[in-house]
């Protein structure tokens, strides 16, 4: 069963390094997301797996088959890799109908005409476009086009599916529906999937594992929860959502925890885990910060701004000369307040 192994990929265009030693493994039937800002190397990595980019160094293998091994001089042409891929632009051939688009990979594999017709109908039904086989791509809506692209990618039952920002051309509402629907399809077909996106909601909602990338490196590799709650790198923490960073001196605390004393929190914040250095930075999500009325326990603070965002309020709070963002479900009046960072809410980052 296929398992995608990527080892030490390196690539540079002139003096800019695009891939700086990328390595990861996607297990069978796993959904792995490459998440990062534009230019981080995620699409280049995906296109290297697909065979449209050649890395300068590194190995890519799927199952027993080596796609790329620069040392051994192996570089399998894209057309012999037998992958399903959905491009950001969908890349539907405009001169072919929906059914012809989906049948194309089958006809290349010399599938018997009747069998091909049946398979096309089956796949189109799967993406709920059974009635649209005779239409041309431009006669479909964006969401429908996206599903045709997916149908074409899975038409000949490839074991590996590559998705290059497939939702970026859809509007917000459609995007959420397409997301649930694709995840469901991936699970039921048992496809090993690599998904590229810069949208953290997509990444968190769909993936078995998320790889956060920046500047051609993988900064964090883990489940959605792990990556979100223990980002380890400042960039990862920031990319996955709003975050406060507090820097100060570290002391060892009780039960293997640490105590971080910062100018705003001279009493110290309890952070899980030990830290070697005398100085450290901890990240705290705004929703983990406890913002209370002026009579409660905690550090003296003052609420500067408040914004109502539907399911919560966002506050900008001042402690001395420092500013902290806090999210809370309840309304707190501007002016004096108390603020607390409960033990375990903060985690160390680089």
């Amino acid at each position: 069963m296929p398992e995608i192994r990527v080892l030490n990929l390196r690539k540079s265009f002139g003096t800019t390094t695009v891939l700086d030693g990328i390595g990861f493994t996607v297990h069978d039937k796993e959904f792995v997301t490459l998440l990062g800002p534009s230019g981080c190397g995620k699409t280049t990595t995906l296109m290297s797996i697909a065979g449209f980019q050649t890395p300068d160094e590194g190995v890519i293998a799927v199952g027993d088959e080596v796609f790329v091994d620069r040392r051994a001089g192996i570089d399998l042409p894209a057309e012999r890799r037998n992958l399903g891929i959905v491009f950001q632009s969908y890349a539907l051939w405009p001169h072919m109908t929906v059914a012809q688009n989906v049948a194309f990979p089958l006809s290349l594999r010399k599938v018997d005409k009747r069998a091909a017709r049946e398979r096309v109908a089956e796949v189109l039904d799967l993406v709920e476009l059974g009635a649209h086989g005779g239409r041309y791509p431009h006669q479909l809506s964006g969401g429908q086009q996206q599903r045709v692209a997916l149908a074409r990618a899975i038409a000949y039952s490839p074991k590996v599916l590559l998705l290059d920002e497939p939702f970026s051309n859809l509007d917000a509402k459609l995007r959420e529906r397409a997301r649930d629907w694709l995840k469901h399809l991936q699970l039921s077909l048992g496809l090993t999937t690599v998904f590229v996106t810069h949208d953290r909601d997509e990444a968190l909602a769909m993936s078995d594992r998320v790889l956060v990338m920046n500047n051609g490196r993988v900064l964090r590799d883990g489940t959605a929860e792990e990556v979100y709650h223990e980002p380890r790198a400042r960039f990862v923490a920031q990319f996955l959502g709003r975050c406060n960073f507090l820097t100060g001196r570290v002391e060892s605390g009780p039960d293997g925890t640490s105590l971080l004393r910062t100018p705003a929190f001279p009493e110290g914040i309890v952070v899980a885990g030990a830290h070697p250095g005398p100085e450290a930075t901890a990240a705290v999500r705004p929703h983990a910060v406890e913002l209370l009325g002026p009579d409660a326990d905690g550090v003296e603070a003052s609420v500067l701004e408040a914004a109502f965002l539907g399911d919560h309020y966002r506050y900008l709070v001042r402690i001395g000369e420092y500013r902290i963002e806090a999210h809370a479900p309840h309304r707190i009046a501007s002016g004096p307040a108390r603020l607390r960072i409960p033990p375990g809410a903060a985690v160390f980052v680089d």
Partner: protein, 575 residues
């Protein structure tokens, strides 16, 4: 504390000045383009040339034309030539465009540029060069037939002229297909390869079918160009007396018992109708192209091109050989021809070296005049045309002037109709409508005809750049209180500077080499390069014509070089 600066409200500009200026420019453009066709049609329905008294309405012109067997021979030749040339040029241009843009053929970038050579080499230069090498008395032809006793080709035949026509029109197909290729998302081909398609399958099933509109489009354009071609039958067909449509009109005009007979106008009108119909068909077809527009392609970075495998080098060698045979050798032949008394394989060329040809160019008053005149028209006419087209394009696309929709077709039309027809039209217009000899029998008339004919080229360079300038820029300027002319002068024209410069360079090059519309207008004393070369060539003078052609090529190269440098400066200054 914010201080409020007291600024007077923008003066309410009266609407009249903008509208008046726009009206003047529009009327000028539309009038210049449409004007020549009215007297042309009128004169085709007269019993006598309009300058003779006593002419009445008559279909005699058309009757004479249809009764002339030479006319039908010319029609047949033209059709044979046009079909052959179109098929070969479209096939070759498509193949070369795919090779140069989508594959990993070595040298594809350099070839991509060199393939445009036939566009910038002055047309007559290339013809003379081909004659010098591949013509009946040409160097290579002689070498093969006399010295090696091998069977040879005949350039003065319809297949021979088709071969040359293919070389001249191939860049049209190449450019159209290349533009279409670069406009489509390369991931369409990547998707096919992911689906398992090899090189040939991708090209055959994805690339070429998607190019169908572009292929059809340039096919019709090339066919229309072939119908009006004049230089090829005059220079190459001369020895065998093979006439094409345009050369039939040209000869009949010059050799008839009465000068300027109505049946020539009739022939011109018929050709005009055919070509116009072709263009209507083409416009209709391009309207149906919508389904070939792929969904919004986003930049996908540098993708790996199609791998030609072991055909990489052979393909590259073939393209190189093609360029060498069609452009490089003829250009060398042209240069050689300008430095020898006669180009022959019987005597080594260094025994025949002479500076007579160049001496003639430097001293013969008619030749000297034609050089100065051509340079004057190219520089002055080019500048004026670009200015006029720039303003007209702004009116057409960035104004609310009521008649603005007429302008774009008016700017496209002159290049779409055969040059000889435009020339005949201008001849009658000058004769019938202009008081005295205002523009008749002088350089002004020729300059106007040449410039009007090539307005289209300036427009096709300027228009795409204009559409890339967002309309918000106009709106922002209008919100700030600027009127239309103000916006044009301060916002749009400065932003268009690179396009204006490119348009001028293209106009200069074209005006230097073009001659079709002037062959009916030139009189002694008003020579321009192209027509002079044509006339000298037809009397058997070859050396000086080659020298003039070399001069043209050198001038074009210099202007292209200067233009490229200036363009870089303008673009850098803008960045």
């Amino acid at each position: 504390m914010v201080t409020t600066l007291e600024i007077p409200a923008a003066a309410r500009r009266p609407r009249a000045p903008a509208a008046l200026g726009q009206a003047l420019v529009s009327v000028l453009v539309v009038g210049l383009v449409a004007g020549p066709f009215i007297p042309l049609v009128y004169s085709s329905f007269r019993s006598k040339p309009v300058y003779l008294p006593g002419g009445v309405f008559s279909l005699g012109g058309y009757r004479t034309l249809f009764a002339d067997p030479a006319y039908w021979t010319a029609v047949r030749n033209t059709l044979l030539f046009a079909v052959g040339t179109t098929v070969l040029a479209v096939a070759g241009g498509t193949l070369l465009a795919i090779l140069c843009t989508r594959t990993n053929m070595p040298g594809r970038r350099a070839y991509g540029l060199l393939l445009m050579a036939p566009v910038v080499i002055p047309p007559l230069g290339l013809i003379v060069g081909w004659t010098a090498i591949y013509g009946q008395g040409g160097y290579l032809t002689q070498l093969l037939s006399r010295n090696l006793h091998l069977p040879v080709w005949n350039l003065a035949s319809i297949p021979g002229m088709t071969a040359f026509g293919t070389v001249v029109t191939l860049p049209v197909a190449y450019l159209t297909v290349r533009a279409s290729l670069s406009g489509t998302d390369a991931s369409l081909e990547d998707a096919a390869r992911s689906a398992g398609a090899g090189l040939l399958a991708v090209v055959r099933r994805i690339t070429i079918p998607m190019l169908r509109p572009a292929i059809l489009n340039c096919g019709i354009l090339i066919f229309a160009l072939c119908l009006e071609i004049l230089g090829i039958p005059l220079f190459l067909g001369g020895p065998s007396n093979i006439d094409f449509y345009a050369s039939y009109l040209y000869r009949s005009w010059n050799q008839g018992g009465t000068p300027d007979p109505p049946f020539v106008s009739a022939g011109a009108v018929l050709l005009l109708v055919v070509v116009s119909l072709l263009l209507v068909v083409r416009a209709r077809l391009s309207g149906a192209e919508q389904r070939f527009v792929a969904v919004g392609p986003r930049g996908g970075g540098a993708r790996r091109p199609l791998d030609l495998g072991r055909w990489r080098r052979p393909a590259s060698a073939c393209v190189g050989a093609f360029l060498t045979v069609t452009c490089l050798i003829p250009l060398l032949g042209l240069v050689l021809m300008s430095f020898v008394r006669v180009l022959t394989t019987l005597v080594a060329p260094w025994h025949l070296v002479t500076s007579d040809n160049w001496h003639a160019v430097a001293t013969d008053p008619a030749l000297r005049r034609s050089i100065t005149h051509s340079l004057l028209i190219a520089a002055g006419g080019g500048a004026v045309s670009v200015a006029l087209v720039a303003v007209a394009a702004l009116i057409a696309h960035r104004s609310r002037f009521p008649l603005r929709r007429l302008i774009a077709p008016a700017l496209i039309y002159p290049r779409a109709v055969p040059g000889v027809i435009l020339g005949i039209g201008f001849f009658w217009t000058y004769l019938m409508f202009t008081p005295g000899a205002l523009v008749r029998n002088n350089l002004w008339g020729e300059a106007i005809a040449l410039c009007v004919r090539n307005l289209t080229l300036a427009y096709v360079v300027i228009q795409p750049s204009l559409t890339r300038i967002g309309e918000e820029l106009d709106r922002a300027a209008r919100a700030a209180g600027a009127g239309w002319w103000h916006i044009a002068r301060r916002v749009l024209l400065p932003l268009l500077r690179p396009a204006l410069l490119a348009a001028f360079v293209l106009m200069f090059i074209t005006l230097l080499g073009d001659y079709d519309p002037v062959v009916f207008l030139q009189k002694p004393g008003t020579e321009i390069l192209g027509v002079t070369m044509l006339q000298y060539w037809s009397t058997g003078v070859q050396g000086p014509v080659a020298a003039l052609a070399v001069l043209q090529v050198v001038l074009v190269a210099v202007v292209l070089g200067l233009g490229a440098r200036a363009l870089r400066r303008v673009t850098v200054a803008d960045a």
